[in-house]
């Protein structure tokens, strides 16, 4: 028999060792996937990904905060003056046209999470102020001053009727 020769064959042995390591390593890495993926949002949370808001109850200059995906969303009913003031300015640190941030100028819909560290800004005077680190936003949710690295985010939403919006769907 050639058994003794097979054992002597070092090249064959090292090939087997490498091949086994690669297959085993890939298998181990693949086995990690379900564990890592299990930590992402569950199907139940994804099912709650949309929120409908009835706009008829919000008075002019009034703001409603609604929860969307666990985060607060500000729905601001802007007056004629506010619309004019916002359309006239380009914001502060990160210039952006107001018309690019709204679907209908009376309604500003922004995620109420400060882009700096994730705190919820308070409605104070015109715009919002974040108490955590002092960022200030205008009535279009654009950052005027402070450490925030961006304007308040506009969530995906669409008007499903004249008085209703659905946040989470375009």
């Amino acid at each position: 028999m050639t058994e003794a020769d097979d054992l002597e064959n070092k090249g064959r042995r090292s090939f087997l060792l490498k091949a086994t390591s690669v297959v085993g390593g890939t298998g181990a890495a693949a086995a990690c996937y379900p564990f890592v993926a299990s930590m992402n949002p569950s199907a139940e949370l994804l099912a709650k990904a949309n929120t409908e808001v009835d706009l008829s109850g919000i008075p002019e200059k009034g703001m409603h905060t609604v929860a969307w995906q666990g985060k607060p969303v500000f729905v601001l009913h802007r007056s004629e003056d506010q619309i004019k003031a916002m359309a006239a300015s380009e914001g502060g640190l990160f210039p952006e046209q107001d018309k690019d941030r709204v679907k209908q100028p009376e309604w500003l819909v922004v995620i109420g999470v400060c882009t700096h560290m994730g705190c919820v800004p308070n409605k104070e005077g015109p715009g919002w102020t974040c108490h955590c680190h002092g960022s200030q936003y205008d009535d279009s949710g654009r950052v005027l001053r402070g450490p925030a690295p961006g304007n308040l985010e506009v969530p995906p939403y669409r008007f499903i009727s004249a008085n209703r919006i659905k946040i989470g769907e375009v």
Binding site: V36, M39, N40, P41, S42, L45, T65, A67, Q69, G70, K71, P72, G112, V113, H116, M117, G118, C119, V120, P121, N122, C130, H131, C132, H133, G134, P147, P149
Partner: protein, 409 residues
């Protein structure tokens, strides 16, 4: 009879030799001061936290709907639940205090230097594990501070290149901190102490290989070492008594000094408290985070401010043994650095104004400069001390150490 049992065991497990090698025959320098008590104290607080945590976990419920109420249940209805909880919350602060003193002693006496680099690095790993454990534990009461602390800190991971947003959602298991975040933090808060225990074993095995440093900074002759037991067991237990007095004064009389009042309000994802502050042991690092105007830069600076300690064995280029005790410039640097950390802690505590931000930036700059300039300062100090003249026995010692280093390479 006892002898017979020990003999029976020794044949199967090295019990007697283990006790001799690690306790009754383990040599410890006889000149250790009380600053050398804090390693043992850290181990003791770890045991205290594991024990109180285990019993708290028997009553706590990691579900966002009832977590806050289960804490009230522990405080009001569980027999001695208030004691377990106050011991655990005070224990967290005590743990950091003991560890910070332990680290300060290592820095002052230069105990991080060869051959104890691995002790310093495993200790660094232990600090990171401790910080992660404390952070996750702080979410569990599900109060306003818990919630917003976890929100701000998980938000830091947005600084991850390219996949920042995905990483944050993955960490939270939700688009905002929520029930899934709470449950996984509880699971990990229970797991991490086991990792800490594992790392402590590595830390101790390394210690028993290189042996304790001592205030003189040089390895003592055999006759100047004494066995750990009974000499240092009794000293460590005495120190533990002093520690327990201070600890229980806080537990019984001032338990709220380490708890934030805002955390007695249940978590509300729609309202951020006006003034959110981390626990005292994170304040200096939080101040560094806030001092950098750029969000990603702030996260990097904060991470670096913790990790940078690991580079001490490379940054310190002096050949003089004994750290701050025999090195006047290093000693001054050490004390200014301690003041700088306290200043940063204060800046991290007060609400941000233009003035405090400026002070914070200067203090942050000094923090990093004291590490970055250390190679040059320590070298210059070393040359100055040599020029001024050192006792002949110290010169001989340094020469023999250099020789040994060459051989080891």
């Amino acid at each position: 009879m006892t002898n017979k049992i020990i003999k029976w065991i020794d044949y199967r497990f090295p019990l007697s030799s283990l006790i001799k090698h690690e306790l009754t025959g383990y040599p410890v320098p006889r000149n250790l001061s009380y600053w050398w008590n804090f390693g043992f104290l850290a181990l003791f607080v770890l045991i205290l936290q594991v024990a109180t945590g285990l019993f708290l976990a028997m009553h706590y419920k990691p579900d966002a709907a009832i977590a806050f109420d289960s804490i009230q249940h522990i405080m009001r209805e569980v027999n001695y639940g208030w004691l377990l909880r106050y011991m655990h919350s005070t224990g967290a602060s005590a743990f950091f205090l003991v560890i910070y003193i332990h680290m300060a002693r290592t820095l002052y006496y230069g105990s991080y230097r060869a051959p104890r680099e691995l002790m310093w690095w495993t200790g660094q790993g232990l600090l990171l594990l401790l910080m992660a454990t404390a952070f996750m534990g702080y979410l569990l009461p599900w109060g306003q501070m818990s919630f917003w602390g976890a929100t701000v800190i998980t938000n830091l991971f947005r600084a991850t290149p390219f996949i920042g947003d995905e990483v944050v959602v993955w960490l939270r298991g939700d688009y905002a901190v929520g029930d899934d975040t709470l449950t996984r933090f509880f699971a990990l808060h229970y797991l991490f102490p086991f990792l800490i225990i594992g790392a402590v074993v590595v830390h101790l095995v390394a210690l028993h290989t290189v042996k304790s440093s001592n205030p003189s900074g040089i390895d003592l002759a055999d006759k100047d070492n004494i066995p750990f037991h009974p000499y240092y067991t009794s000293k460590d237990f005495f120190g533990m008594g002093i520690f327990l007095i201070a600890y229980f004064i806080v537990v019984f009389f001032f338990p709220h000094s380490v708890l934030e009042p805002a955390n007695n309000i249940p978590a509300n994802p729609m309202i951020t408290p006006d003034h959110i502050v981390p626990e005292w042991y994170f304040l200096p690092f939080y101040a560094i985070l806030r001092s950098v105007p750029n969000a990603v830069g702030g996260v990097v600076a904060m991470g670096l401010s913790v990790i940078i300690f690991a580079f001490m064995p490379f940054l310190d280029r002096s050949r003089i043994p004994g750290g701050g005790r025999y090195r006047p410039v290093y000693r001054i640097m050490f004390f200014i650095f301690m003041l700088d950390i306290l200043l940063l802690g204060y800046i991290g505590y007060v609400p941000a104004t233009d003035q405090t931000i400026t002070i914070g930036q200067v203090a942050t700059l000094y923090y990093f400069l004291s590490f970055l300039l250390l190679p040059f300062i320590s070298k210059a100090e070393d040359m100055w001390l040599f020029r001024r003249g050192l006792p002949s026995n110290i010169l001989a010692l340094i020469a023999s150490e250099e020789e040994e280093k060459r051989i080891r390479r």
